[in-house]
């Protein structure tokens, strides 16, 4: 039986900005797409509390008798700015509970259970906090050591603004309590955990102390998951917030750290185009080549400042590096006109967001996106560059162990990488002089893979040092560097092949 949504809403930039002004939560994960790109989420997120309050307000506007005494919410999956969401209301076996599900594109992104009857939640630590409210204009950057035992308070939004934004909810529970619920996202996104925060859920009773600030106190920090539990009390509510202390953007080694591990003449004569060179594997590869006397040209699609920062670091170490805007989804030739000389090497690290929000085991849209990056964009670039450097363009294609070691949630990614491997064989067979090194890389610690969950990851520098050395050695450029020992990779290498005798090549 098809369910009918109770309401739907588009969460666009205007909605996002208005909510940030109302709540006081201007965390860049919500407000800055360039910043959000460097998190595992990949794009700016709608505030979870925005979907919560919208959900409650929409339900109460249709069913005003469902006045909650307690609200429990889990923010399960990201809702991105620019997306629409729908609300579904479901009865529960317990008649005093109702389930609100917020969905987008068939995926439940938030579960909200409203309790029409409930016992109290104890928040003894937050109840005792007696601190003047903080109204920090930018999110506080905390360390893990600062998290345990942290306390504070934040102001509440004006009751008039709360009543205007969520009228049905304000009538049901009072505008001050709406302000208190809003204030929870200010606590999480601006105060604690602050800059590197992820709000995952809450359990709030709506009959707490009617103070005019929301006090908070960290009562548990689980270092295994970087999970932070926070008691809150004030504004007529009290309860618990479940949050995570995200890893900051992954910092790759500096040029001076890389130089300590590379022979300074190892890559002299090499001009390497490094697609996706502004961070992660591309950044590390650029530094290795520059440290070895080579000339990397790193490309960026949107992170110009980051690409320039990598180039500046290399220049500070005495190396050469240029930057180039390049979008793999657009035609290759016009974008490469800015290159003064053809490149001798190509490292292709272009990628879309790897970990997708999924509603089923296989997502055709996700596969098409990966194919665009890992197959179509790669093929187009190789054809142009191989024609420009017929002496023998040397290419590195990073595949993944996910191709032969299935990982839940990465089926589409693995399929596209497998297609990329086959493409490499095809290109080598029919593009004169082209040779490709393909490696199935293990999970490597980059922005894309930095997660609060338990996961092992390799360091990018350790992975790329022997690969860059192999790329140089097989091209006739003297090999050098300090290959990392004891590393086991499944590798598939395609060497340059003689053209078939039946085809004519120039």
């Amino acid at each position: 039986m098809d369910r009918k949504p109770l309401a739907s809403k588009l969460f666009d930039d205007t909605v996002q900005r208005d909510f940030a002004k109302l709540s006081g939560d201007f965390n860049p994960l919500h407000m800055d797409p360039i910043y959000a790109r460097r998190t595992q989420m990949g794009k700016a997120l709608v505030h979870g509390v925005n979907t919560l309050l919208w959900g409650l307000d929409a339900v109460l506007s249709k069913r005003p008798e469902m006045v909650p005494v307690q609200v429990r919410a889990r923010f399960l999956k990201p809702l991105y700015v620019g997306e629409s969401a729908m609300i579904f209301l479901t009865a529960r076996p317990n008649p005093t509970e109702k389930l609100i599900e917020i969905e987008t594109s068939g995926t439940v992104i938030a579960e909200i259970v409203i309790h029409l009857e409930a016992g109290a939640l104890a928040t003894p630590v937050a109840d005792r906090v007696d601190t003047a409210p903080s109204a920090s204009p930018s999110p506080i950057e905390l360390t893990a050591e600062q998290m345990a035992g942290r306390t504070g308070a934040v102001p509440l939004a004006s009751v008039d603004a709360c009543a205007a934004a969520f009228p049905a909810l304000a009538v049901a529970i009072g505008p001050q309590r709406v302000g208190a619920l809003l204030a929870t996202t200010r606590v999480v996104g601006m105060e604690c955990p602050g800059l590197y925060s992820l709000y995952s859920g809450l359990a709030i009773t709506l009959n707490g102390q009617p103070k005019d600030t929301l006090r908070y106190a960290v009562t548990r920090y689980d270092h295994r998951f970087r999970a932070v539990r926070i008691e809150v009390s004030g504004g007529g509510v009290n309860g618990l917030l479940e949050t995570f202390f995200r890893l900051p953007p992954t910092a790759q080694p500096s040029i001076s750290e890389v130089m300590a591990r590379v022979d300074p003449r190892a890559y002299v004569g090499q001009r390497a185009l490094i697609v996706g060179g502004s961070r992660g594997l591309g950044e590390v590869t650029a530094k290795i080549i520059a440290a070895g006397g080579g000339h990397p040209i790193i490309t960026y699609a949107s992170g110009r400042a980051e690409a320039q920062a990598v180039a500046d670091d290399i220049h500070a170490g005495g190396g050469i590096c240029d930057i180039l805007h390049y979008d793999v989804r657009k035609a290759a030739k016009p974008q490469l006109k800015a290159l003064s000389k053809p490149a001798t090497h190509l490292y292709y690290f272009a990628t879309s967001q790897i970990f997708l929000r999924k509603s089923s085991l296989h997502e055709p849209r996700g596969l098409r996106e990966f194919i665009a990056f890992y197959v179509d964009g790669f093929a187009a670039l190789c054809e142009v560059m191989a024609a420009a450097y017929p002496k023998g363009l040397r290419v590195f294609y990073p595949s993944s162990v996910a191709v032969n070691q299935p990982v839940k949630g990465l089926g589409e990614y693995a399929m596209a990488k497998a297609a990329g491997e086959l493409l490499c064989d095809h290109l080598v067979s029919f593009l004169p002089g082209l040779s490709v090194v393909v490696k199935r890389l293990p999970r490597i610690l980059t922005d894309q893979t930095a997660t609060v969950a338990l996961a092992e990851a390799e360091a990018a520098l350790d992975i790329m040092l022997p690969i860059v050395a192999e790329m140089a050695a097989q091209a006739g450029v003297p090999a050098g560097g300090s290959p990392h020992k004891g590393m086991a990779l499944a590798s598939i290498s395609n060497e340059a092949r003689k053209p078939p005798s039946t085809s004519s090549r120039g």
Partner: protein, 76 residues
């Protein structure tokens, strides 16, 4: 009453009858990495124990979770 299955059912928000010792992230779509963390916290609170990182990473099914808990003296 199977307390362990009850914990899993509540955290994953599924019917307890749909779970068994072979249930894992591979065959239970609700069991993703975020829920996995909530499961660890819920199990620790339900059985008043603390799990090491190695123990957590070994708990790939409900059955292996049960084995870990038994080894720690929990009545499962």
């Amino acid at each position: 009453m199977d307390v362990l299955l009850k914990v899993f059912a509540e955290v994953l928000n599924v019917d307890q009858a749909s779970l068994n010792d072979d249930s894992s992230p591979d065959n239970t779509i609700q069991w993703d990495s975020l829920k996995a963390m909530h499961l660890v916290v819920a199990i620790e609170e339900a059985f008043t124990i603390e799990l090491s990182t190695a123990e957590i990473m070994s708990m790939r099914t409900i059955g292996t979770a049960r084995a870990v808990l038994r080894k720690k003296g929990a009545a499962v």
